[in-house]
């Protein structure tokens, strides 16, 4: 959905850019003379951006709304704690287990990640699964992710956090049903 959002934004932006560029170029071609101030200031300056922006904003809000976490019965809850420079994950369904730099989730089920940090500000980002969310000391932010298919997804720390920033990564492993059951039985794959 975000990919589609991007293509819409890109197309719109390109059109507007070409339109403005055309208007400027035309200033050299047309004979100079009386120009209607209202047309430029009120119609182009005020009305045009307001209409475009209102449409865009509504679209953005709808997309944002759809991405919003919702209560569902098959929700899985995990915890992510960032530090310089690794990630530790814990699981509500498997108390006591802590995995380093690898997050296990079931595929095709919504997962809430409760994100926090042990030291500085970090951010949790799995580009192919969701947008990013910060890990702020003393606060817990919850991010909803969902993997459509089993597999490995690359995760990144995406708030600058010092000399180890480049390698502040982790892997998300999305299991199929059987794999997830096996994981819950304590068989670390």
């Amino acid at each position: 959905m975000i990919a589609q959002l991007w293509w819409v934004l890109l197309a719109g932006a390109t059109l507007i850019f070409l339109f403005v560029a055309g208007l400027i170029a035309w200033a050299w071609r047309r004979p100079s003379g009386e120009t209607d101030e209202r047309r430029f200031v009120i119609w182009l300056g005020l009305a045009f951006p307001m209409i475009v922006l209102a449409a865009l904003l509504a679209y953005g809000l709808i997309v944002g709304e759809r991405l919003l976490p919702r209560a569902t019965p098959d929700l899985v809850r995990v915890h992510a704690e960032a530090r310089q420079w690794d990630w530790r994950f814990r699981y509500d369904d498997l108390p006591g287990l802590e995995t380093d730099n690898v997050l296990h989730i079931p595929a095709d089920r919504p997962v809430d990640v409760a994100i926090t940090t042990a030291d500085v500000v970090h951010a949790f980002w799995v580009p192919r699964l969701a947008g990013k969310l910060d890990a702020v000391p003393g606060h817990v932010n919850v991010l909803r992710i969902e993997a459509d298919a089993p597999g490995r997804y690359e995760g990144l720390g995406s708030e600058f956090n010092g000399v180890g920033y480049r390698d502040h990564r982790f892997t998300v492993i999305a299991h199929d049903d059987a794999g997830w059951q096996a994981f819950l039985q304590g068989e670390t794959p």
């Binding site: 959905m1 975000i2 959002l5 991007w6 934004l9 932006a13 507007i16 850019f17 403005v20 560029a21 208007l23 400027i24 200033a27 050299w28 047309r30 100079s32 120009t35 101030e37 430029f40 200031v41 182009l44 300056g45 005020l46 045009f48 951006p49 307001m50 922006l53 865009l56 904003l57 679209y59 953005g60 809000l61 997309v63 944002g64 991405l67 919003l68 030291d119 500085v120 500000v121 951010a123 580009p127 947008g131 990013k132 969310l133 910060d134 702020v136 000391p137 003393g138 606060h139 932010n141 990144l156 995406s158 708030e159 600058f160 956090n161 010092g162 000399v163 180890g164 920033y165 480049r166």
Partner: protein
């Protein structure tokens, strides 16, 4: 007296000291404006070299040119230098140089303050350069998020350089802003109504007021973070009731307006240059002023869009997302009014116009990507990637650097008095602009492919190699182009032939003088009745040189100009400016010792240099105004006016009003921070709230009463009451603090100490002001000539008692309520 004799007489009065000494003692805005521009350009070159190091490192994958430690210092310093030491000072320099000329007056409102600000900039900037050369530069990114920038993440001295050096430099931003505001409002050519001001003056006014209200949150944040680092006051440490998010709010409360503080002056230059290039007048002057003002106001409601990923509630996101897209509207009004101006006239393709076209092409793209990242779900994906890096350079380079180069070429005949002769400028243009787009256009795409900003190197095989090598090569091409611009300017300044007075055929007063400008600007002041005085009367420059305007008679042998009514521009009083002096430089050097003492933890130096600053300030005010009234003096054209020394609202009073605006914003930010911690920070309430009991409250109420009523009686008793009142207010601090344990226990205690410290500082300042008033009484100043001083002191003591009352309420209430 003929024009030449008048020129000689005025030059003798206004000239800076000859030789190298003149550099340090000049208070002339033409000199200082040029000096600001040269130093800012120097910092642009330094920032550019750092950018080239960044691009060299990122040109290929797994580069081993720079390690992460150095890389982090380099990109942090690149951002910091470009934002604080290049962009803002460059605007200050341009405004300092141009404003008095465009407004048709002889200097800025407070010439010595211009010099003081300039030297603070130079000394503070030198501290940053030193840190860079010594390899201990800040390395936490230009927005310095704690805890990374605090003792936990950065135990070394690196962050201290940023917090202390930048705060020092901000003194120059605040003083320039006070100065610009007062100048635009009160120092115009007689007759020039607000609605007849050159459009650049409107932009400068809006920018200056934005600096006054935008920088204080940053200054507060820097002070709090430095207090945390130096003394362990835990404002940003969550375990003891602080919150890292507090910094982010304070920083972006400054940081977003900052972007418009950078853009608006450029827009002012565009609005000035574009109509001249199109041989017409600006379309929609009123609309453009309204757009600039609303940009200024709106930009203070947007800071949260830099924090979309920090876990702000969804409703908040929707609100700030809507507000952020809304700023595109006044921006569009300006863009389309400019295009309408082009349509209206006959645009000609001179070099400045070429750079303005580069502005349009670049800035419009930057604006469009800006709208994209204001859409929250998109920002979640683009935040902290190269998409943002590309976006911000489209806005900053397109929206500031390109218009400023246009301005440079447009005013170059003015700066140098010479015809632009060599044509290197065109070659430079064709290197810089394509080079720029080659560097940054594709980087949007790298960001969408997941390239995070601020990484020091990357692995191959992610599809980023081609983009990065193209970006780096184009970056070097652009750098060569910028170097050519600098060479072009220098060569033209040195060797070109003398040019005519108004080469572009512009209508504003800056071209109504011989160039390069004489130190006094105008041999006599014009009476202005329209927006383009030179179009109404092409002979105006000659008539001014012949002394047909105001103040054309140099007989009083001192630096004089006129101050006017804010709205109508009717002349009000004669201002007598101070002469050349090294005091501003000395005072800023002593101020520098204060900051140096903080930086090196040589705390014995801090009180000594504070006393030094006070001593300088006392010498500073001693020279102001004459002792006995001179009465009405002839100012030419049949008019007679008294001097500022006899006015109830002298320039110093207006300066105080706007300084207090900044100061009040600072205090407001402190209250905001306190409320934020109180309601959002996780580890609240503190172990115990203060319960000061009734004593401090009584002291403050009594003191405030006395300090309020005292100044309103012009007697010795009245002034005595004021002094006692201020001392009582200060005395309330003791019982307040004695209840508190140590300020390192909890952010609450730390905040209480800051409140009390701020209040005490203002008691001291007010006491000093009133002792100046008393001193004037003793040295035989007449009632008439000390009226203004008294009103200035009253302004400060009124502010102090307001602060005292609010502080008392803020500290006392939680204890009472719980």
């Amino acid at each position: 007296m003929n024009a030449l004799r008048r020129h000689r007489a005025l030059s003798r009065i206004w000239a800076s000291d000859p030789g190298w000494k003149g550099w340090f003692t000049t208070v002339n805005h033409t000199d200082l404006g040029r000096m600001f521009l040269v130093v800012a350009t120097f910092f642009f070159v330094v920032g550019g070299i750092l950018a080239m190091l960044i691009r060299a490192q990122l040109a290929s994958p797994r580069s081993a040119f720079l390690g992460p430690d150095h890389y982090n210092q380099i990109f942090t310093m690149h951002g910091t230098i470009m934002m604080f030491l290049f962009a803002i000072p460059f605007f200050e320099g341009l405004a300092v140089y141009l404003l008095p000329k465009m407004l048709g007056t002889r200097d800025l409102a407070f010439p010595r303050l211009t010099a003081y600000g300039f030297w603070c900039y130079v000394f503070g900037g030198s501290m940053m350069i030193f840190a860079l050369l010594a390899g201990v530069a800040p390395d936490s990114g230009w927005f310095m998020y704690p805890p990374l920038s605090s003792t936990i993440g950065a135990p070394g001295i690196n962050s201290d350089f940023w917090l202390i050096g930048i705060t020092f430099v901000e003194i120059s931003a605040i003083s320039a802003a006070v100065e610009i505001t007062v100048t635009v409002l009160r120092y115009r050519a007689p007759g020039m109504k607000l609605s007849q001001m050159p459009i650049f003056a409107w932009y400068a006014l809006v920018t200056a007021v934005m600096i006054l209200t935008g920088f204080p949150p940053l200054i507060l944040g820097s002070i709090l973070l430095e207090l945390e680092r130096a003394f362990g006051l835990p404002f940003f440490q969550v375990a003891q009731g602080g919150d890292a998010l507090l910094w982010q709010h304070l920083f972006w409360l400054f940081g977003h307006p900052e972007v418009y503080i950078i853009f608006l002056p450029a827009a002012g230059a565009i609005s000035t240059i574009l109509p001249v290039m199109a041989r017409t007048t600006l379309m929609g002057y009123g609309w453009i002023v309204a757009a600039a003002v609303s940009l200024g106001v709106l930009s203070f409601g947007l800071w949260v869009h830099h924090m979309f990923t920090t876990g702000i509630p969804h409703m908040g996101l929707a609100f700030f997302s809507a507000a952020s897209t809304l700023v595109a509207v006044p921006t569009a009004v300006q863009i389309f009014a400019w295009i309408g101006t082009l349509w209206k006239g006959r645009p000609e393709m001179h070099l400045p116009m070429l750079w303005l076209l580069a502005f349009f092409a670049t800035f419009v793209i930057g604006g469009l990507t800006g709208v994209m990242v204001a859409i929250v779900p998109f920002d979640w994906q683009a935040h902290d990637t190269y998409f943002i890096v590309a976006h911000l350079h489209y806005v900053l380079v397109g929206g500031f650097v390109f218009p400023m180069i246009a301005a440079l070429y447009y005013w170059m005949p003015h700066f140098t008095g010479r015809k632009t002769y060599f044509k290197l400028g065109h070659a430079a243009f064709w290197l810089v602009v394509p080079g720029f787009h080659g560097t940054f256009l594709m980087l949007h795409w790298a960001g969408l492919l997941g390239m995070r900003r601020r990484i020091d190197s990357y692995e191959s095989g992610q599809g980023w190699e081609a983009i990065n090598i193209i970006a780096s090569i184009s970056g070097f091409v652009m750098a060569i182009g910028f170097a050519l611009v600098v060479i072009d300017v220098v060569v033209n300044a040195v060797v070109a032939i003398r040019g005519s007075r108004d080469p572009w055929g512009a209508g504003t007063l800056d071209w109504a003088m011989p160039t390069p400008a004489a130190p006094y600007n105008f041999a006599s002041l014009a009476h202005v009745t329209s927006r383009d005085p030179l179009y109404d009367d092409p002979k105006l420059p000659v008539r001014l040189a012949r002394g047909e305007g105001y103040l054309g008679d140099p007989d009083r042998a001192r630096r004089e100009t006129l101050s006017v009514d804010i709205a109508t521009g009717a002349p009000r009083y004669v201002v007598v400016f101070p002469g050349n002096t090294a005091l501003p430089m000395l005072m800023s050097a002593v101020t520098g010792l204060f900051f140096l003492g903080m930086l090196l933890k040589a705390y014995w130096l801090v009180p000594i240099s504070a006393l030094g600053v006070i001593a300088c300030a006392l010498i500073w005010v001693r020279g102001l105004g004459s002792r006995v009234p001179e009465g009405a003096l002839p100012v030419g054209r049949g008019l007679s006016l008294a001097t500022a020394a006899e006015a109830a609202d002298p320039p110093g009073w207006w300066g105080s009003v706007f300084l207090l605006l900044a100061n009040g914003t600072f205090f407001g930010s402190l209250l905001f921070g306190y409320a934020f911690l109180f309601s959002i920070a996780p580890n609240w309430p503190p172990p115990a709230y203060l319960e000061p009991g009734p004593l401090p409250l009584l002291l403050v109420l009594l003191g405030a009463g006395l300090a309020f009523i005292g100044p309103r009686f012009d007697t010795l008793t009245g002034q005595g009451a004021t002094l006692v009142g201020l001392i009582l207010i200060a005395g309330a601090a003791l019982p307040l603090l004695s209840g508190s344990t140590d300020p390192t226990r909890h952010a609450y205690d730390a905040t209480v100490w800051v409140f009390v410290g701020y209040g005490l500082l203002h008691c001291v300042v007010s006491l000093l002001m009133w002792s100046v008033v008393a001193g004037r009484r003793l040295t035989g100043h007449s009632a008439q000539t000390s009226l203004g001083t008294k009103r200035i002191a009253r302004l400060w003591s009124d502010y102090t008692l307001l602060v005292a009352l609010l502080t008392d309420a803020a500290i006392g209430l939680p204890g009472v309520l719980t």
